[in-house]
């Protein structure tokens, strides 16, 4: 390119918009831009541990710029329990940042991720400068607690097809993009989905194929399109998710449960 005034390079940024239900999606542009400059930018490969349950020393947190992570915990009977799945636009590790207590879960990547690693000091100073971000962070923590309650009730030790359907329902509600044909879930590979629910990729492949054959989901641009939310809810064994759990957005005019 021939240019009379070539400019400097600029840091990476997401091409599309942020999912509105996430922390970054809820912030105004200037606040979001500043938040996306906090800490250090890094790429982490699939299957890497970011935070360790019980760790008392670290207080940093991560902002997920792209990719999926899962939070797991060891139950009293020695089983690994999936606590949560998080994706682009969400924070992870902020509990220890805010309360100086040990990490409550082990968090690992389920696919390659772009993350910003933010120190406790930088994050708290940012919240002081931006009360609107503070309110958004508190709201996101409340949303996590609400969802954790539902997740504990509904996920449990369900059969594999039910778990796949429930994770897809959750991802569609939190990170999905409504389209005329259904809700489009962000880029998600079968290995990532399998890692989220602790299944083999082959099993997930068969479950997704069965959903496609029934026109419950489709694949578009390599992403999953939920075409029939009612059928997916049925697969998940859920007739209705109570709004107070915050898994589905509140209907218009509803201020939500308190």
């Amino acid at each position: 390119m021939t240019s009379s005034t070539p400019g400097p390079p600029e840091g990476p940024r997401r091409m599309g918009s942020w999912p509105p239900a996430t922390l970054l999606g809820s912030l105004k542009d200037p606040t979001r831009e500043e938040m996306l400059k906090l800490g250090t930018f890094s790429q982490v490969a699939s299957g890497e541990t970011l935070l360790m349950e019980g760790d008392r020393k670290t207080r940093h947190l991560f902002l997920i710029v792209q990719g999926y992570v899962k939070a797991v915990s060891n139950s009293a009977d020695g089983k690994v329990v999936l606590l949560a799945v998080r994706s682009s636009g969400d924070l992870i590790g902020e509990f220890a940042t805010l309360d100086n207590r040990p990490r409550v879960a082990t968090v690992s990547t389920v696919g390659p991720c772009f993350l910003r690693k933010i120190s406790q000091r930088d994050f708290l100073e940012f919240l002081e400068r931006h009360p609107d971000a503070g309110r958004a962070v508190y709201a996101s923590i409340v949303a996590k607690l609400r969802h954790a309650t539902w997740h504990r009730i509904e996920f449990g030790t369900s059969p594999m097809p039910v778990r796949v359907a429930r994770v897809l329902l959750y991802l569609a509600s939190r990170y999905g993009e409504p389209t005329p044909d259904g809700v489009l879930i962000g880029s998600l590979t079968q290995p990532e989905l399998a890692a989220m629910i602790g299944a083999r990729e082959h099993s997930v492949h068969k479950i997704l194929r069965y959903m496609r054959e029934r026109d419950v989901i489709a694949t578009r641009y390599g992403r999953i399109l939920v075409k029939d939310g009612a059928a997916l809810s049925s697969d998940a064994g859920i007739s209705e998710i109570p709004p107070e759990y915050g898994v589905w957005p509140s209907p218009p005019g509803d201020s939500g449960g308190n």
């Binding site: 390119m1 990476p12 091409m15 792209q66 590979t189 641009y221 390599g222």
Partner: protein
């Protein structure tokens, strides 16, 4: 416990470079970024990561993406976007672009994306072979180059939209490496 290495993990990703061709007044990148974003969204790449480079734009795709669909879709949509833009302003500056595709290991640091794949895709985009391809096709708004390694994987029958016969094989030579690749210039949209 700090579980992240100072040297970030390398991940194999599809990389795309886009540069404008020819002289322009001022910084030529803002219109280029606008065109690339418009084409990228039309091709369904809203989750790609964009980095503005000194000479153009770099796109780094999500891992596990359907590479054939990205190559065919982005090339088509970039050609369409340029054609519409240039047709709307017949007296204005005609924007013509060079586009390159390669995949390989990518690292992310606070300075942005780095790695062999990032360097190679930039070198292919700036190569004399690609410039000559665009210069030799005055009616085209876009010429593209794809590494041989990538096209070998993606070409028909893997993808019905990528036929090797439409490309011309070249070897991009830089002081540090030689890259087998294929070039072609797009005609106006059908």
């Amino acid at each position: 416990m700090d579980l992240l290495d100072p040297l970030p993990d390398p991940v194999r990703r599809l990389c795309v470079a886009v540069e404008g061709d020819g002289a322009s007044r001022g910084d030529p990148r803002p219109p280029l970024v606008e065109v690339v974003e418009r084409a990228g969204m039309a091709a369904g790449l809203d989750q790609a990561t964009l980095q503005i480079q000194p000479t153009g734009v770099l796109l780094v795709l999500t891992s596990g993406v359907n590479e054939a669909r990205v190559v065919a879709g982005l090339t088509r949509e970039l050609g369409n976007t340029l054609w519409r833009r240039n047709r709307r302003s017949p007296g204005g500056h005609r924007l013509r672009c060079r586009l390159s595709f390669h995949q390989g290991l990518v690292r992310l640091t606070d300075d942005g994306f780095t790695g062999q794949a990032v360097s190679a895709v930039a070198e292919m985009c700036a190569s004399a072979d690609l410039r000559a391809e665009l210069a030799g096709s005055p009616s085209s708004d876009l010429a593209m180059i794809i590494s041989g390694q990538l096209l070998d994987d993606l070409a028909y029958p893997e993808s019905p939209d990528l036929h090797k016969t439409q490309f011309r094989p070249v070897v991009v030579t830089t002081p540090t490496r030689s890259i087998s690749a294929y070039v072609y210039a797009l005609g106006p949209p059908a």
